[in-house]
Symmetry: C2
Subunit: 165 residues, 2 copies
């Protein structure tokens, strides 16, 4: 990572259009999210932006560069385990922002009282993401055979990743 | 299994009260579901009964004895993998109905075009369930350390179970 200066802060309503635009482009790429082109803005907003999700954005030189959310992964007797999702805008990749966002989210989840964090659906061919989450102490704890229909590669495996906090 | 005569059929609106009562008692037991006592009827219905879920019930001598649902486990590029949930009423346990429901659900999922089926949250101490799903060719593909707050036992592990169809 170069010495990129970035700021991570809580998202506000004014950030939603940029988050939604990035979500749509990630969904359209067909190589990272189960969510595809047909995902409605309402669905995306409910996942990423609305309570109980807490949403943060990262800015590089004042420009929107990425976002993440943290929320309970399960209801009730499973709500001590957090789930999180991350997106970095294409023009800001390769700067280490995924790791920075993930580390930040781990701290936020700890402060919110979560005991662990789980990623349910890490596409195995998304190697940069898998490496980033491993750097942040997440381990692959499960493999789902052919659970993702990759736009270019067809059926590929999906990892469940997990760490305690 | 004894020679219990049972019938598995599609659920109708008239079945919902019995399903909801069983759901509440399973949630209250605090040993099988993430869903706890605070779960609203609307949430349960959305999970178990409303489209895209398909819901079936099993009857023994005309009496409601259990239920299951099948639905996509993920949106979009993950919607070829089904999820399912099962409940058997306490007075009908030990008759092999869990296995019967699971085998039926696998056939239904196949007919609906799913390629695999995934259980996201099988409480590891629920040994009869784990055995039943293993009989139905599900394998433990992931272990989530301490992901369930068991009402009696405290934090216990959770299994992710999976099979192709």
């Amino acid at each position: 990572m170069t010495s990129t200066t970035f700021t991570i802060r809580s998202a506000t309503e004014a950030d939603w259009p940029a988050i939604w635009a990035l979500f749509r482009s990630a969904a359209e790429s067909g190589d990272v999210f189960a969510y595809d082109e047909s995902t409605s803005e309402e669905t995306a907003r409910k996942l990423w932006f609305e309570s109980p999700a807490v949403c943060f954005v990262v800015e590089v030189e004042g420009k929107f560069a990425g976002t993440y959310y943290v929320r309970p992964n399960q209801p009730g007797r499973g709500d001590h385990v957090a789930n999180a999702g991350y997106m970095v805008a294409p023009e800001f990749r390769g700067l280490g922002l995924s790791v920075a966002l993930c580390e930040h989210s781990v701290e936020v989840a700890r402060k919110l009282g979560f005991c662990a964090m789980q990623f349910n659906f890490v596409v195995s061919t998304n190697e940069s993401a898998v490496r980033a989450w491993q750097k942040c102490c997440f381990a692959v704890v499960g493999r789902l055979s052919g659970a993702f229909r990759h736009k270019q590669l067809g059926l590929v495996d999906v990892f469940v990743m997990y760490r305690t906090l």
